[in-house]
C-alpha cells in the first residue's frame, strides 16, 4: 500500500535507479506507474525492487524537490513521466531549468504543482466537521473529496489547528485520524460511519444567508472560488439556489433622489475654500467664522482638531496644542509638528524635541517650567512614496495659524518668547526676518514680551557636518540661556 507521500518516495527511488542506469525519459517505463497514487492503491511496480534505502545519484535544488513532492500528488497519470523528464534535464546540463519560466516542462510541472496546492488549500477551507457524542467523549468527523491526492499533505494542518479534538477525515483515497496524540492514516474500508447532521449547522446556514448581500449577486465568482464539485459536501451549498433565485427576483429598494451631499471635485474644494475660516466649534459659544482678526479663543485640543482655517487641518492626524504651565514666564515657539508629533498629538516629542530638552537643561533651565508650542499647529507634509516628508508651511498657513499663537500668548502672557527658526520668528513678529540677522538683537512682541530669535533644533540635526552642528548647538544653548535668564529676572 502506497500513500501519496510514499508514492513520492517510491518515485524518487525508481527515478534514481533509472538515472543510475542512464535510461533517458523516452525509454523509461513510467506507463506501468499510471495506477500509482491514491493513498491505498497497489504497490508501485518498482518499490522494493531496488536496493533500499536508495542512495542519491545526483543533486537537485530544494525548489525542485518541493515541486516534485507536490506534483506527485496530482491525479494526472502522466505525472511520473513528466517529473522524470524534467529530472533528466536537470541532471544533464540544465541544473537551473526551473529558472526558465517559459520552458514547456517547467510550465507544465508548475501548473500541476499549483493545482495540487490549490486542492490542498481548498481542503483546509471546505472540510466541515460534524460532532459525534460518544461514551468516550466527543469525536469530530468530516467527509471530503479533494481534487487531488492531498490527504497526507493536508492532515498536518488539521493537527496544528485542532490538536485538542479527536477528529477523523474521510476521503475516497483514505482516512486520517488524530486522536490527540498521533496521526494515523488508514484505508477507507475502516472509515467510521459519517454523521448525517450537526447541531450547529442551522446556525451556520443562518449566518451564510444573512451575510450574503443580494444587491451584489455574483454567481460566477462564487463558482470559480468554490467550484460546484465541492458543493455536495458543504452544508451551506443547500441554500445557494434559493438565495440566488430570491436575489434575482428581488427589485432593489427604491431610493429617494439625492439632496444634500457635497458637490464634486473642484466644486467641493471651492466650497471648502469659501469656508476656509470655519473653525469647528468646541462648544456652541465658540466663534466659528474667524472673521474677527484679533481674538480667537485659546487653542485647546478640540478647537485645533476641528480647525480648517487652512488645508493642513484636513490632511493631518490632529491639531497639536502647546504644552506647559499656563502661566509660564518663557514660551518656546517651534515651526510645526513633525511626523512623530502628529501621531502623538504632543509638541516636540521627536528627535528635535529630545535635542531641545537637552539644550534647555544645558542652558540651566527646566523644560517643565516653560511653555512649548508651534507657530503652525498641524503637520505640513508631502507624500513621497509611502512616507510623509516634512514640508515648510506656506506663508498663508503661517498666517492662518498666527491668530492661534496670538491667543496662546494672550493667555499665557510670557515675559520672554523664544522663536525657534524662521517660521516661528515670522509668526511671532508678524514679518519675515532672517534668524541670522535677528539673533542677539532686542526684539519685542506686541504684548510687550521680549523675543529671542534662535535656530530651530532641527537645523542642528540637519547641519551638514560636525563642526557646523556643534556651532549651531552652542548658539542655541547660548540663546536659550539668555532668554531663560531674562524670563527669570523680570
Amino acid at each position: 500500500m502506497v500513500s501519496a507521500h510514499d508514492a513520492f518516495t517510491a518515485w524518487r527511488a525508481e527515478s534514481r535507479r533509472l538515472l543510475r542506469a542512464g535510461i533517458p525519459p523516452h525509454a523509461a517505463p513510467w506507463d506501468a506507474w499510471a495506477g500509482v497514487g491514491g493513498l491505498w492503491s497497489d504497490p508501485a511496480p518498482a518499490a522494493g525492487a531496488d536496493d533500499a534505502p536508495s542512495t542519491p545519484v545526483a543533486s537537485i535544488s530544494p525548489q525542485a524537490l518541493d515541486l516534485f513532492r507536490l506534483v506527485s500528488a496530482h491525479r494526472d497519470p502522466s505525472r511520473h513521466a513528466r517529473m522524470y523528464g524534467a529530472l533528466w534535464r536537470m541532471t544533464h546540463g540544465e541544473r537551473g531549468l526551473l529558472d526558465d519560466a517559459a520552458d514547456a516542462d517547467v510550465i507544465a510541472l508548475t501548473r500541476m504543482a499549483k493545482a495540487v496546492s490549490r486542492a490542498r488549500h481548498k481542503m483546509t477551507a471546505f472540510v466541515r466537521f460534524r460532532r459525534v457524542g460518544t461514551e468516550a467523549g466527543e469525536r469530530w468527523i468530516a467527509v471530503f473529496e479533494p481534487e487531488h491526492d492531498v490527504l497526507a499533505l493536508t492532515a498536518p494542518f488539521f493537527v496544528r489547528r485542532f490538536a485538542t479534538m479527536d477528529w477523523t477525515l474521510v476521503t475516497p483515497d483514505g482516512c486520517a485520524r488524530w486522536d490527540r496524540r498521533r496521526l494515523a492514516l488508514f484505508a477507507v474500508a475502516d472509515a467510521p460511519p459519517a454523521p448525517s447532521e450537526d447541531a450547529a449547522e442551522s446556525l451556520w446556514l443562518t449566518y451564510y444567508t444573512s451575510i450574503f448581500n443580494p444587491a451584489r449577486l455574483n454567481v460566477a465568482t462564487m463558482e470559480r472560488e468554490m467550484p460546484r464539485a465541492y458543493w455536495k459536501l458543504l452544508p451551506e451549498a443547500a441554500v445557494i439556489p434559493a438565495l440566488v433565485v430570491a436575489a434575482r427576483d428581488a427589485r432593489p429598494p427604491t431610493l429617494a433622489p439625492i439632496a444634500a451631499a457635497p458637490a464634486p471635485g473642484r466644486g467641493m474644494q471651492r466650497a471648502a475654500a469659501a469656508r476656509h475660516c470655519a473653525v469647528a466649534p468646541a462648544d456652541d459659544s465658540t466663534r466659528d467664522d474667524g472673521t474677527a482678526s484679533d481674538d480667537l479663543p485659546f487653542p485647546d485640543k478640540s478647537r485645533l482638531d476641528g480647525c480648517r482655517r487652512c488645508p493642513l487641518g484636513g490632511r493631518a492626524t490632529q491639531g497639536v496644542p502647546g504644552e506647559g504651565p499656563p502661566n509660564a514666564r518663557v514660551m518656546l515657539v517651534g515651526e510645526q509638528p513633525g511626523d512623530e508629533e502628529d501621531l502623538a498629538g504632543r509638541p516636540f516629542v521627536g528627535p528635535a524635541g529630545k535635542l531641545l530638552r537637552r539644550a534647555i537643561a544645558e542652558a540651566g533651565g527646566d523644560a517643565t517650567t516653560v511653555y512649548i508650542t508651534n507657530a503652525v499647529k498641524h503637520f505640513s507634509f508631502e507624500l513621497r512614496g509611502k512616507r510623509r516628508i516634512h514640508k515648510t508651511p506656506a506663508q498663508r498657513e503661517i498666517e492662518a495659524c498666527r491668530l492661534w499663537l496670538e491667543a496662546e500668548i494672550e493667555q499665557v502672557r510670557p515675559v520672554q518668547i523664544v522663536a525657534l527658526g524662521a517660521t516661528a520668528l515670522a509668526a511671532t513678529l508678524g514679518r519675515r526676518v532672517r534668524v541670522g540677522e535677528a539673533r542677539g538683537t532686542a526684539l519685542r512682541h506686541g504684548s510687550g514680551a521680549g523675543v529671542t530669535a534662535t535656530y530651530h533644533p532641527s537645523a542642528v540635526l540637519r547641519a551638514p557636518d560636525e563642526a557646523r552642528k556643534r556651532e549651531l548647538y552652542a548658539a542655541l544653548v547660548g540663546d536659550l540661556r539668555r532668554a531663560l535668564g531674562a524670563g527669570g529676572e523680570d
Binding site: D99, D100, A101, A102, H121, V127, F129, R130, R131, W140, A142, R160, R161, F162, A163, T164, M165, S202, L203, W204, T206, Y207, Y208, S210, I211, F212, N213, P214, A215, R216, V219, E225, M226, I240, L243, A247, P253, L255, A256, P257, I258, A260, A261, P262, A263, P264, G265, M268, A272, D305, G306, G314, R315, Q318, G319, D342, L343, G345, L383, R387
Partner: protein
C-alpha cells in the same frame, strides 16, 4: 429573542463591511495540551456567498443599536431595522462552535455605538478577552476599534486581536459632516495613529527583548496583522481622486495594511440624502486596481489622479492601461532590457510575470511567444512591449484609436 434570530439580525447588520481578510497574523498553533486554533499568516476563505465574496470570518455586530445617525449606514439611529444585542458569551460560543467545525478562521467583531465609545469598546474587547483567556482560542480575531475610545482599551484590543480597524467611511471632512455628523475624520485618524504608534513600540520592545528574554516571555504581538480601514464608495459624490489621495495618505501616515473600498449598497429604509444608484461595483473594482498599483507597482496616487480628467477612474479601462495610454512616450518597454520598475508599468503584465521575465532573461533573450507561454495578457501588452522578435507597429496609431482597440468590448479590431 433567541440566538438564531439575533444571529440573523446581527450578521445582516455586519455585511456592509467589506473586510474579511484573515491573513497576516503571527503564526500560532494549538498543541495537544491546550488551545484551539491556528494561524499561518495566510488567510483561508472557508466559503463564498452568492455575491462572490469570501466568508473567512464570523463577521458580526455585537449590537446594531446605535447612537449615531450616519446616513449611509443601515444601523443608523433613524433607520427602521430590527434591533438585537448579543450577550458576550453568545458571541464567544458561536465563534468556538463555528471554528471547531472548520466553518471559519475566526471572528470579526464590530458594534453600533451604545452608551459611549468607551462602553462599546469595553464590550467588544470583553468578547476577545474571553476567547483568548477563558478558551485559549488561537484563531484569528479582527476587532473594529471605536474612534475616540480610550487608549487603554485600544491597548487591550491590540493585545487580543490580530487585526484592528477604524473605518473612515468617507474621504473628506465635507462628506463626513454632511452624512455622518457625529463622526469626525480626526477622531478616526487619531485612533489609527494610536494603533500605529502602539505597533511600532511593540516592535521596538520585541527587538530589545530579543535574546534577553525567552520567546515565550514576550507578550503576544500587538495587532500582528496590522490595521485597515474602509471607505464607502458611491454614497455621495466624492471622486475617485479624493478616495485615492486619502488612501495614499493613510497608507503613508499609519502604515495601513489595507484600505477597503465598499460600493455603497442600497439599504433598507434609506436616507433621502443618499445617491439612488445601484452599488457601483465596477467603480469599486477600479479603485481596488488603482490601490493595487499604489501598493505593489510603485505608482504614486498623484500620478494616477493626474490622468483622471473628471477626477474619476475610467470604468472601461483599467487604471494601469489608462496610465499607459496617457503616457505613450514611456513605451514601448523592452522586456529584455528595461528595469523592473518599467516592466511593472506594462499593461497586461503583472508582478508575478515581471518576476518570471527578470529570472528568465538572465538565461536568454525573451521572445514574444515566451510572454504568451507565461500567460501575459498580450491583447493589452502587445502594443507596449518590445521582445527579441517583436516591435509594436502602433507607434503612429492615435491614442483614441488605440484605446478603442484595447477596450475589451471592441477587442483587437485594429489588428
Amino acid at each position: 429573542m433567541n440566538l438564531i434570530d439575533k444571529l440573523a439580525v446581527l450578521a445582516d447588520a455586519a455585511k456592509y463591511d467589506a473586510s474579511c481578510a484573515s491573513s497576516g497574523a503571527a503564526g500560532r498553533r494549538s498543541s495537544a495540551q491546550a488551545g484551539v486554533g491556528s494561524t499561518t499568516g495566510m488567510g483561508i476563505c472557508h466559503s463564498y456567498a452568492p455575491d462572490g465574496r469570501c466568508i473567512s470570518l464570523l463577521k458580526l455586530l455585537l449590537t446594531n443599536f446605535c447612537l449615531y445617525d450616519c446616513q449611509y449606514c443601515v444601523n443608523r439611529r433613524s433607520s427602521d431595522v430590527p434591533r438585537a444585542r448579543f450577550a458576550i458569551d453568545e458571541v464567544v460560543r458561536l465563534t468556538l462552535d463555528f471554528y471547531r467545525r472548520n466553518y471559519i478562521e475566526g471572528l470579526f467583531l464590530s458594534s453600533g455605538i451604545i452608551r459611549s465609545p468607551d462602553y462599546t469598546m469595553e464590550q467588544v474587547v470583553a468578547v476577545a478577552r474571553s476567547l483568548r483567556e477563558d478558551h485559549d482560542f488561537r484563531g484569528y480575531i479582527h476587532l473594529k476599534t471605536i474612534p475616540a475610545a480610550d487608549e487603554r482599551l485600544i491597548a487591550l484590543a491590540g493585545r487580543y486581536a490580530d487585526r484592528l480597524s477604524v473605518n473612515l467611511e468617507l474621504p473628506s471632512d465635507a462628506s463626513l459632516s454632511a452624512l455622518a455628523p457625529e463622526k469626525s475624520s480626526h477622531a478616526a485618524k487619531q485612533t489609527m495613529a494610536r494603533i500605529h504608534v502602539a505597533r511600532r513600540q511593540d516592535r521596538e520592545r520585541r527587538r530589545d527583548a530579543r535574546g534577553a528574554l525567552a520567546r515565550k516571555d514576550v507578550a503576544p504581538v500587538f495587532a500582528s496583522a496590522g490595521q485597515s480601514t474602509q471607505l464607502v464608495v458611491g454614497a455621495d459624490r466624492s471622486t475617485d481622486a479624493a478616495f485615492l489621495t486619502t488612501a495614499s495618505g493613510l497608507y503613508a501616515a499609519y502604515d495601513l495594511k489595507r484600505v477597503y473600498y465598499s460600493a455603497f449598497s442600497p439599504i433598507p429604509s434609506p436616507s433621502p440624502r443618499l445617491l439612488p444608484d445601484a452599488p457601483p461595483l465596477v467603480r469599486e473594482h477600479r479603485l481596488y486596481q488603482a490601490d493595487w498599483l499604489m501598493r505593489f507597482y510603485g505608482y504614486d496616487a498623484a500620478e494616477i489622479v493626474a490622468t483622471l480628467p473628471e477626477g474619476n477612474l475610467d470604468l472601461d479601462v483599467d487604471p494601469k492601461l489608462g496610465w499607459a495610454l496617457a503616457h505613450r512616450a514611456f513605451f514601448p518597454v523592452d522586456v529584455n532590457a528595461a528595469p523592473r520598475e518599467a516592466l511593472l508599468r506594462i499593461p497586461g503584465i503583472g508582478v508575478r510575470n515581471v518576476k518570471r521575465i527578470v529570472a528568465t532573461r538572465r538565461r536568454r533573450r525573451l521572445r514574444y511567444a515566451d510572454l504568451a507561454t507565461m500567460r501575459c495578457d498580450l491583447t493589452k501588452a502587445r502594443a507596449f512591449v518590445v521582445t527579441a522578435d517583436w516591435r509594436p507597429p502602433h507607434a503612429d496609431v492615435a491614442t483614441p484609436t488605440l484605446r478603442k482597440a484595447l477596450v475589451p468590448a471592441r477587442q483587437a479590431s485594429l489588428w
